[in-house]
Symmetry: C2
Subunit: 453 residues, 2 copies
């Protein structure tokens, strides 16, 4: 039997989804959300497009304001309240009101840790230095846009070329700057297979982006000729006006760890599919915790928005006494890189091998539309296939714009455990404005099947 007081640490996707779900399931429940920042439930993934000036009002990213939550949903949301400590034995938390500076103790029956993730900031970057930024939240988005549009700011350096790095490269370029990037790995977007990375590189080049590979920053200083001077690991020095660090994220778990909650993959909070942690009545959801992977059957750390929302709903439902289980992730993700979209679902080759599969990759190029139709453009599909079952365990795609949303068709195929033959047999939609007769999904499955023979 669940208790009556549900306390949530963190007011973004996972936390607010949990709050909303619990309230719907059990309207009588007392639900309190403590958020250390100034915003709840905002579309963080939209920040690069605000910086790119695709829209002007940052408030458009706020899905539900704290006021709306309080008024319409019967939840208590405390903004600018930082949880300092979890006391599992007492079932309390210590909360500091950042405006008054006072700390109080709050009792819970159930506690959800939804503290999210934080950008990894290598030691050589000091976010207090003028011109050095990371994208932690809405205030950062505002600061970056303000700084990027200063008349004396012309050049930017983006650190990292993962999803956020790529989006920031495009955003700053769209904001009118000359953009360079540095990447620690030997290729851009290293979570993709090499063939896809190569095509991303080409698109960056076409858009005048210089990327330095196999390199990291060692020292950042004020410069005389520009704002900043960066000494690189290869001995070179470059100057730039601003730096945006997009070097990945890690789960924000200090609170959980200090409370004795067990951590798992990549030091994310260890959870089961009901979102339970190692401590009774303490739950976790979102980017601070692991996510069950549908293909491997084990937990991974894949901090993405849809999974966070879902985990929040699952936790909220369970807390309210209605059993729910997280269906798991496939690691489906998509990212715009100038005119292209790049997307993936399922496992990469190394992940597949690590999961014990005898896998291989096949790369196939198809066309988004018939050659005669305006806007027809190539789509590259890379499949990761288990040899003996001919089942697809991973897909990576790159091609023009929205054509890449075809990754969802692949995600459905992976969820269904379809073989190449079953995929090749699908009845997909054809008309010249949308696709060739044999859609690239069908072509990819057919070519891969022939390759395996």
């Amino acid at each position: 039997m669940s208790g009556n007081r549900f306390v949530i640490i963190g007011g973004d996707a996972a936390g607010m989804s949990a709050a909303g779900m619990a309230k719907r399931r059990r309207p009588d429940m007392e639900i309190e959300v403590y958020e250390m920042g100034d915003y709840t439930s905002y579309g963080a993934c939209g920040m690069p497009y605000y910086i790119a000036n695709y829209f002007e009002d940052l408030n458009d990213l706020v899905v539900v304001t704290p006021h709306e939550f309080r008024e319409n949903r019967g939840l208590k949301v405390f903004m600018r309240h930082r949880v300092e400590k979890i006391n599992p034995d007492d079932k309390t938390i210590d909360v500091k009101d950042l405006d008054t500076g006072r700390t109080r103790t709050v009792f819970y029956d159930d506690l959800l840790i939804a503290t999210g993730a934080e950008p990894i900031i290598p030691g050589e970057f000091n976010l207090d230095m003028e011109g050095v930024f990371a994208l932690r939240g809405l205030p950062d988005a505002a600061s970056i846009k303000d700084f990027a549009t200063r008349p004396d700011v012309n050049e930017a350096l983006v650190v990292g070329t993962g999803y956020i790095g790529l989006e920031m490269i495009e955003a700053l370029k769209e904001a009118g700057l000359t953009v360079r990037a540095i990447e620690l790995a030997e290729r851009v977007a290293p979570t993709f297979e090499e063939e896809i990375s190569t095509e991303i590189s080409e698109e960056l080049s076409r858009n005048g982006i210089e990327v330095l590979l196999n390199v990291k920053a060692q020292k950042v200083e004020r410069s005389e000729s520009a704002w900043l001077s960066v000494t690189l690991s290869n001995g070179e020095t470059l100057t730039t006006d601003m730096i945006v660090v997009g070097a990945g994220v890690r789960p924000r778990t200090k609170l959980a760890e200090a409370a004795g909650v067990e951590l798992g993959v990549r030091k994310a909070v260890k959870v089961d599919r009901r979102q339970r942690t190692s401590i009774d009545r303490i739950w976790a959801a979102g980017d601070c915790c692991e996510a069950y992977h549908r293909l491997t059957g084990v937990n991974a750390y894949i901090p993405l928005a849809l999974g966070a929302n879902r985990q929040g709903k699952v936790a909220g439902s369970n807390v309210a006494g209605i059993d729910a289980e997280f269906p798991g992730v496939l690691g489906t993700a998509i990212c715009k890189v100038f005119d292209l979209g790049v997307a993936r679902t399922g496992l990469g080759l190394k992940e597949a091998e690590h999961a014990g599969l005898d896998a291989l990759t096949v790369k196939i190029t198809g066309n988004s539309k018939p050659h005669y139709y305006p806007g027809a453009a190539p789509i590259t599909t890379l499949l990761i296939i288990e040899k003996n079952t001919e089942k697809v365990f991973g897909v990576q795609m790159i091609g023009h714009g929205s054509a890449i949303k075809r990754i969802d068709t692949w995600a459905a195929c992976l969820a269904g455990g379809f073989t190449l033959q079953e995929i090749n047999d699908l009845d997909l939609a054809y008309a010249p404005p949308f696709s060739p007769v044999w859609d690239p999904v069908l072509i990819a499955a057919e070519v891969a099947k022939k390759t395996l023979k």
Copy 2:
């Protein structure tokens, strides 16, 4: 054991797919294709976009020329050769060379009927009358475009608002004409559910297209004020400069019927999933024959390009001695209507009820992208659901442009027999340029699930 001579009647999608597949499987086979027209293997679905002037060279629609087939693929393709008669007892066909007027007899071991479909031309329309057209093949596309661009041609009337009617309405409008349409049924695109038809109507209105419903033409005459005068079944008379009949198609089966080949659904050639007809060693594929429906398990008449290509390959493989079975269709189709795309897969409500399902429809409106991202637009999804299993048996969508290619994700779900819950659990791709966090596919499944409760 299959014989050595494979004769194919009809050189379009199904016929040429069969020829190519048989040749690959058994390079020693003698393959002859008899095509009564001037073109083989052309992209018929591209014709409206040629008329709309999206591209200029009609030859771009020809996928493989007869010359290329002869030279590179080792097939004999006879153009402008009309098969007059099939003689199953002798295993011969009588073929007339339309240029010389001579008829000869050709022996076969296996015969494929791939005679396609032909537009239904109601009796009141005489295609020999100047200004009256139907879209039977490339020469018609050329004639329609030539006529539509004459300086003295300003208005067009399209008869029928199915896929071809809708595409022709747009094409003629894009060609600069004022376009009206008449539809026999009480709503446009009557193979869609009413809610979808309504949105198609609205898009036609927004583009200045007047559609007269519940009406048919009764008489077409030369006019003095314009080119043509049309008397309608409601007693009204309207004038127009040109008429394009897009009132659906029917299987072209006179040859088959005369040979004693059994006909089935809508008088299409009856076939099994290996594409065998009722007569031994006579096969059929493409728009002249039935297609196995994956959801009902029985044959339907759904003449679409992908199925035709597939049936051709299946027939060719079987003739070459390698067993193959047609996987079946879901009736997946997509059509551009000005700024919108409209698509479907699976069964309509009546089809579902006819198949014995206790079904209902749920209509859901979602967004193609987050509200703040440029180009975000609503997507309407209508689901046909079997009540007791909560499985989706049909999906119809309408919304802006390529966002509607999401129908393929649904087609994969239908092929997998997924329940609403399984669909709602899919890990689909999210980034603001491509989708909201909860893709319209997920939203539709979730809302439908709640509606069923």
